[in-house]
């Protein structure tokens, strides 16, 4: 495969702050058992790309814990494989994809690799891009840079020759550009552009609202069919959770549920991550509950996003809206007393 990958996970989006205080956007949990990074990494390996540089900015402990040496994606290789290349400068990472200042810290990754082309991808646009097909399109077009688009929206995935990428990294200050995305958006540009039209599922996760919307969208079978393709599985770090237990008296409708949970309450139109405990008579509607949360008896929740390890005490009532879901931050404890 003559493509190497830059996964820019240093990108920062203001609107997602509540979910990204202790982690990069790309390690935000999604669809019950995944992290956002799983989608680009799986697309890369499903497209035959096996030289992958992940460029995170601080805080990246959560991301590193998740991807490790890349075993879940078969990227733990003697030759090529996964390279974890953190950006050390303070406040590294921009709001645009492919920040040159970050890539510049790891020039060796580019100079040592032999692949003639580079794909610059990101950790916040969920899709099923086939990079092999996109590369062919790029080569045929003869353009300098190819951008993936869908329905007129940019997926912020770019293919260019490695030489051009290296040149841009080395001269970006003189050229007054900060990232690959920035170069593509220049009004006057010395480069030629090509667009690759992608058909299939995509979701851009750049705010709590878009996160909530995309999550709820997965309850639609059509979306799931496009995202979970049998021939192109989404890989993630495996956990040895047992199957989920549905206790007598529980009621679950229109829900996506990961393993290891115990459900005694009532759940509808919701996404439940691994090892969640929903106690008797708790009622959840339009909620996203992440790993290891505990929802005590008689809670009544709607439009709530509970981050990892959240504890919701007995009888708590929380109602958000589709526009403004209530976000409970990682590890937060909410009790009835807090409500008064």
């Amino acid at each position: 495969m003559n493509l190497l990958a830059v996964v820019d996970t240093s990108v920062k989006k203001e609107g997602l702050q509540d979910l990204t205080i202790q982690r990069a956007i790309s390690s935000v949990p999604f669809a019950g058992r995944y992290r956002l990074i799983d989608f680009p990494l799986s697309n890369l390996v499903n497209s035959g790309v096996n030289t992958v540089g992940v460029f995170p900015s601080s805080p990246f402990a959560s991301l590193l814990d998740h991807i490790g040496v890349g075993k879940s994606w078969d990227l733990d290789r003697r030759k090529n494989g996964l390279f974890f290349l953190p950006i050390t400068q303070r406040d590294g990472g921009l709001s645009t994809v492919g920040a040159f200042a970050g890539l510049e810290e790891h020039m060796q990754f580019f100079t040592k690799s032999i692949q003639p082309y580079a794909i610059v991808t990101n950790g916040f646009v969920v899709n099923q891009l086939d990079f092999r097909e996109m590369l062919n399109h790029h080569i045929e077009s003869g353009a300098d840079i190819t951008e993936a688009v869908s329905e007129g929206v940019s997926l912020k995935n770019y293919i260019l020759s490695k030489d051009l990428l290296v040149e841009l990294i080395q001269t970006h200050r003189d050229k007054n550009v900060v990232s690959v995305e920035d170069v593509v958006n220049l009004k006057k540009s010395p480069y030629t552009f090509n667009q690759y039209e992608y058909k299939g599922y995509f979701a851009i996760i750049d705010s709590v609202q878009s996160y909530f919307q995309a999550s709820m969208g997965l309850l639609d079978e059509e979306n799931r069919k496009q995202l979970f393709l049998p021939g192109r599985p989404i890989y993630t770090k495996v956990k040895d959770e047992p199957p989920t237990r549905y206790v007598t008296g529980s009621s679950v409708k229109r829900a996506l549920i990961a393993n290891g949970s115990t459900i005694m309450g009532e759940v509808s139109d919701s996404i439940i991550s691994r090892a969640v405990n929903i106690k008797k008579n708790a009622r959840l509607e339009k909620c996203i509950i992440m790993q290891k949360c505990v929802i005590e008896e008689n809670c009544d929740l709607s439009y709530v996003i509970a981050d990892k390890d959240v504890y919701i005490g007995e009888g708590v009532v929380l109602h958000g809206t589709a526009e403004q879901p209530i976000v409970l931050r990682k590890g937060e404890k909410v009790t009835k007393e807090d409500m008064r």
Partner: protein, 382 residues
């Protein structure tokens, strides 16, 4: 001082009473509990007990097991030193010898054991579902300065004659060992889990090997011979869930036990995880028409019908108006629209046709087969 423990896991069993479930796989590879294979239990017990060298002895239909265990990664047994070693029968200069009995299987791998140079050898069986701390067993064995320790379990008196039964004195010394006695004198059953001092095991295996009258079995030959010679044999009383899944019915029962919160078999205990290979599948989906009660469901399932008191493995589809109650539905099976099943074990990837029903109120557990479905289709003209 050398106190290295190595485990030898006997995984060559056929399990012929499990019928079509074990035509192409060995009994230890049998699916269980929505995502596991039976061998996950002894292997995970090893991981959780800190045992880092495990030999897995295979013979009957070994391919699935070999592929499944691989390098032992799910159980942290992919080690530089030790780890898992698959031990099928092999050819020697004198030809191939099949494993004739449990003891001969171990004897034929004596060079493997010698190369490991252990102080203690733990003999395990790949046929049983239980969670056990082998470290506690080995500690007990050391404290009692025993030559061999047998892990035993109290069973109902009426079942005792199905097992190797031990009679003990007050200090748990084994006085008698009866393999499947007609009239058991005790209800302490051997679980087929033994710890030996390596030196003693080697001595008795070598003697047994040249004894032409021997059936080369631990329960029938090795243990009685050791008792006769007055070696120190003690019993370790195991408390907890333990099940030998020898029949379709007992396999079904063990699955149902998982749904009973008081059965003692808790898979949701993070302190004693059962490790398994984890297929990469999306979360399970419960649709508008789905209704799941008192059940366990694994990843990749799409449930649009009724599920009651059942264990549903990965990638199972249960369509609208279909219903399963007290069933074990194995991976990739499809229960089509309106099909109704009660007390059925559905083998992997079986496609149960629309409207299928077993006439009459059937109470005994049945293993559904493709032939049965074809017969039904012919009868109803589909």
């Amino acid at each position: 001082m050398n106190d290295k423990v190595i485990a030898m896991l006997l995984a060559g069993g056929q399990g012929s009473r499990l019928k079509s479930l074990t035509y192409t796989i060995a009994k230890p590879a049998l699916p269980f509990g929505g995502k596991y294979r039976i061998i996950d239990f002894p292997l995970s017990n090893c991981t959780n007990s800190g045992i880092e060298t495990v030999g897995v002895l295979t013979q009957y239909q070994p391919h699935v097991l070999h592929q499944y265990i691989g390098l032992g990664t799910p159980w942290d047994l992919d080690r530089r030193n030790g780890g898992v070693t698959m031990l099928p029968p092999y050819a020697e200069i004198d030809g191939i010898k099949w494993y004739a009995g449990t003891a001969s299987a171990i004897y034929q791998n004596i060079s493997f054991l010698k190369s490991c140079d252990p102080a203690y050898v733990l003999i395990l069986s790949g046929d049983h579902i239980y969670k056990m701390d082998y470290e506690a067993l080995v500690d007990y064995h050391k404290e009692h300065e025993a030559d061999v320790t047998i892990s035993v379990l109290e069973v109902p008196w009426e079942d005792a004659s199905r097992f190797g039964v031990v009679n003990v004195n007050d200090s748990m010394d084994v006085m008698e060992f009866d393999e499947k006695p007609e009239k058991p004198k005790s209800n302490l059953a051997s679980m087929g889990v033994y710890v030996f001092k390596w030196e003693k095991l080697k001595e008795y295996l070598e003697t047994d090997n040249v004894n032409e009258a021997s059936s080369h079995d631990f329960g029938k030959d090795i243990l009685p011979a050791m008792l006769e010679k007055g070696e120190k044999m003690v019993a370790y009383p195991f408390k907890g869930y333990w099940k030998d899944v020898g029949t379709v019915e007992s396999l079904w029962e063990a699955n149902m036990d998982l749904l009973d919160l008081n059965s003692g078999l808790n898979l949701h205990d993070p302190g004693w995880r059962i490790f398994s290979s984890n297929p990469q599948l999306p979360p399970q989906v419960i649709n508008e028409t789905g209704d799941v009660q008192a059940s366990m469901v694994n990843e990749g399932c799409v449930i649009s019908g009724k599920v009651f008191k059942s264990v549903i493995f990965q990638n199972v589809t249960i369509e609208e108006e279909a219903s399963v109650s007290e069933c074990v539905v194995m991976s990739g099976a499809k229960i089509r629209k309106g099909a109704k099943l009660h007390r059925a074990v559905v083998p992997p990837r079986l496609d149960v046709p629309e409207g299928f029903e077993i006439p009459g109120q059937q109470d005994e557990v049945i293993l559904l087969t493709q032939e049965q479905l074809d017969e039904w289709k012919e009868r109803v003209g589909k």
